[in-house]
């Protein structure tokens, strides 16, 4: 019977043998070499990596079906061009000629397979003028201007319900904007801005929820925004920029006069800052198009004059008194 130390010696030398025999194969695999038993030579190869969405697609390499399905790595490919076809039932095939280089990886990891029949599903259950999606709340808002109503549902069209009635304006509104607290809707056409509360349409409206319309018969409204306080509106017309409280008979305050009729506008709701372009006369007497930044927050001196205390806050103050 073999002694323990003899067995250990055998195990040791066996381990050494495995190490030195296995190492060339592991390293050659790692470096992309393929051993050709006929020529007894190592040839440097390349790799194709295929990942599809959805997974589980069949792969044809130069017309030959491979055993594995995607995601798939095809190792030990001799340098050259390979025709790849990816098939998945009920999906369009994906076809490509892929160049494989020595010791390199050809990665195709973002292959998207498109279904033969697009998975289209109707979400609205009423007539529809326009819609927008709120990804934060995961809801879709539907506007039906024919019956002046706003509907809502989840992203699958479930829980579809009438949210509120809208005050009709004519011609129909071109844009709709929710206040940041999702309680009020602003919409406008060329000469009218309408505000509607989004509370339960069956309930009696509070004064703040009562819909109203601001008219701009002289100006053409280009854009309108909610201030982050959910109470002020920033309205940009072809002649001026105004801030107005979202209440009936509110007096707008003009904060800028525009020379350009169609300015480019961006409103940053995080900082309540308006960026706009306008022509201004330079020292050389010529007009140049410039980009301006206008802060409309409580820190800016303009707004301190413009922003009035909200009715709700007024009531709170009165209560305190």
């Amino acid at each position: 019977m073999l002694s323990e130390q003899r067995i250990r010696a055998i195990l040791f030398y066996l381990s050494v043998l495995i190490f030195f025999i296995g190492l060339p194969f592991i390293l050659s695999f790692a470096l992309g070499y393929k051993f050709d038993p006929r020529s007894l030579k190592f040839t440097k190869t390349g790799i194709i990596v295929l990942k599809t969405q959805p997974q589980g697609a069949s792969v044809y390499l130069n017309g030959k079906l491979l055993n594995e399905k995607t995601p798939l790595t095809v190792n030990e490919l001799l340098p050259g061009t390979y025709n790849i076809k990816i098939d998945l039932e009920d999906y369009y095939s994906w076809l490509a000629d892929i160049d494989v280089e020595r010791g390199k990886v050809a990665r195709f990891e973002k292959i998207m397979l498109f279904p033969l029949r697009a998975n289209v599903k109707q979400l609205n259950k009423e007539r529809l003028s326009t819609f927008w999606a709120d990804t934060d709340e995961k809801v879709i808002y539907y506007i039906n201007q024919d019956d002046s109503a706003i509907y809502t549902s989840d992203f699958e069209g479930e829980r579809y319900r009438r949210l509120a009635n809208l005050m009709p304006i004519a011609p129909p509104a071109i844009k709709f904007k929710l206040s940041e607290n999702k309680e009020k809707l602003l919409y406008f056409n060329k000469h009218q801005v309408a505000i509607s509360g989004l509370g339960n349409h069956l309930k009696e409206k509070t004064p703040e929820e009562t819909p109203f319309i601001l008219n701009y018969p002289e100006d053409a409204i280009i854009e309108a925004f909610w201030h982050s306080d959910n109470y002020h509106l920033i309205i940009v017309t072809n002649r001026r920029i105004e801030v107005v409280e979202a209440r009936p008979q509110a007096e707008p305050v003009e904060i800028a006069v525009l020379n350009k009729k169609n300015p480019s506008i961006f409103y940053d709701t995080n900082t309540d800052t308006l960026y706009f372009t306008d022509f201004q006369k330079a020292a050389d007497g010529n007009f140049y198009n410039n980009l301006y930044k206008l802060e409309i927050n409580s820190k800016s001196s303009i707004l301190r004059d413009i922003i009035k205390i909200k009715p709700a806050e007024q009531r709170q103050l009165q209560d305190k008194d």
Binding site: R8, F19, G22, I26, L31, I47, V105
Partner: protein
């Protein structure tokens, strides 16, 4: 040997470890393909090594199981040799350990299946510990007349040439014991000395086993006798982290017990008292007294000295504390102290340089083994866990577009899975080495003790290599460590 040569030898292990790590990091940035090849080679080497060592562990475990509960005393009696004159000198160096730690260790000796009139107990206290006199008096009263002799020694602080180490205390005690034996007419060549940590509880057959091996080993004075250290005293109560570390330590010792040509004494062990006296006792200024004493004997006997494995366990305490952070720190410091065994390298090489009789081959082989084991200890976990992804992280797009860049994580992942597969064997074996579950420990702890192995990768990351690298760096910089005993307490 000149101070300059000594410093060079001290620098070598740390320089090699840091050199390997820095080289691999630099290669990962500058030559990622070369770095990747080195990492794959190292990974493959590691898996082969793990499988090989796990096989040795299985063999050692089998041997341990077969010799469990063996009546060694009967074997001694059947040898036909006169063993009646063999005495056992047992030294317990004690510093801060309380009586709650020391008492069970002495009780274990008292319960041993061996004539007590052949046992001399030495409780080696440190004079600087204010409780030592009181503790000695209590122990002397409790175990009076239990053994052939029992003495308490008090090692004075600040003896010139000494540092505050366990070896200095044990040496003081051994010298006192030498005088004691002379007064009792016991010849020192018939004495086997065992130097045990204060928490070491021997199995009842330990001294029978030791005597048997002492009687049957050729040139018994030219051998140390190393039992398998297990940490079973409080293992059921220790937190997972500490328990796994100590189980792994025990397994490493079991593996080492199969590699006789590399086997070095560790922790509690036994040897001929004659040899201990002849070599000038334990080192009094080195922390790793348990292994240095082996090298001293190795040099003294010109390479004809070996460690005989005893397949019997001595049980010690798992080092742990009141919270996980303290436990990790405690374990870290203990492992760093073990890794300070790297101080053996300059000691051994300087001994080799002064020697003219040991063969060059033996010097190269033993020197290489010692250096390789410490350097591997300091780098393996860092290479496998931290540096392995570096070529991909720093290699850039060109590297990841190459076959090796794509294959590197796959190959290293596959190879490491093999290693974790081997750890399954460790999990199973750990169940067999456990003592019986105490009545106050819930049944569910059995499940915990299996599931807890999932934290092994984190343990490897924290305690795999860093304590060893820390110790080597201190030696490299000449910032010598002081002996910090692991605090032990049975109940926390």
């Amino acid at each position: 040997m000149s101070q300059k040569k000594k410093r060079i030898l001290e620098i070598i292990p740390g320089a090699l470890s840091w050199g390997s790590i820095i080289t691999l990091i630099m290669l990962s940035i500058l030559m990622p393909i070369t770095a990747a090849i080195i990492i794959i080679v190292f990974d493959f080497y590691w898996i082969i090594r793990t499988l090989y060592l796990t096989t040795l562990l299985l063999m050692a475990h089998r041997k341990l199981s077969r010799q469990k509960n063996k009546d060694w005393l009967a074997d001694c009696q059947n040898l036909g040799k006169d063993w009646s004159n063999i005495h056992h000198l047992i030294i317990f160096p004690v510093y801060k350990e309380g009586l709650d730690i020391l008492r069970p260790s002495i009780e274990a000796i008292k319960k041993c299946h061996y004539p007590k009139d052949k046992i001399i107990l030495v409780l080696a206290f440190e004079e600087r510990n204010k409780n030592s006199q009181q503790n000695a008096a209590v122990m002397e009263a409790e175990f009076k007349n239990e053994f052939f002799g029992q003495i308490s020694t008090f090692h004075p602080d600040g003896i010139p040439g000494e540092t505050r180490t366990k070896g200095a205390n044990a040496t003081w005690a051994a010298k006192k014991a030498y005088a004691f034996l002379a007064t009792k007419g016991v010849k020192y060549e018939n004495v086997v000395v065992s130097c045990f940590d204060a928490d070491t509880c021997v199995e009842k057959e330990y001294f029978g086993c030791l005597t048997y091996h002492f009687l049957t080993t050729s040139n018994p004075h030219q051998a140390s006798y190393q039992p398998i250290p297990v940490y079973n005293n409080n293992i059921w109560y220790a937190p997972s982290f500490a328990r796994l570390v100590e189980i792994s330590s025990s397994f490493c010792q079991m593996i080492e017990s199969m590699r006789l040509e590399k086997f070095v004494t560790f922790s509690s062990h036994s040897m001929s008292f004659k040899t201990l006296v002849d070599i000038g006792y334990w080192p009094v200024n080195m922390i790793s007294d348990d292994s240095v004493v082996y090298w001293k004997a190795f040099l003294y006997y010109k390479g004809n000295y070996r460690v005989v494995p005893l397949y019997i366990t001595v049980s010690m305490d798992v080092a742990y504390s009141s919270n996980i952070f303290k436990t990790v720190m405690m374990q870290y410091k203990q492992k760093r102290r073990w890794a300070w065994g790297v101080e053996n390298f300059p000691f051994l090489i300087s001994g080799f340089l002064q020697d003219r009789e040991i063969s060059l081959l033996t010097k190269i082989r033993r020197g290489y083994h010692l250096l390789e084991s410490h350097v591997t200890w300091a780098i393996w976990a860092i290479v496998l866990t931290l540096i392995a992804p570096f070529p991909i992280l720093f290699g850039g797009r060109i590297f990841t577009e190459m076959s090796i860049g794509y294959n590197l994580p796959k190959i290293t992942g596959l190879l490491l899975n093999f290693t974790f597969g081997a750890s399954l064997i460790w999990i199973i074996l750990s169940r067999f080495t456990l003592p019986k579950r105490p009545a106050d420990v819930k049944w569910i702890k059995n499940v915990v003790m299996v599931v807890e192995w999932a934290i092994v990768p984190f343990i490897i990351l924290i305690l795999g290599s860093t304590p060893a690298l820390d110790a080597q760096t201190r030696l490299l910089l000449g910032k010598y460590m002081e002996f910090i005993p692991t605090e032990k307490s049975r109940k926390l």
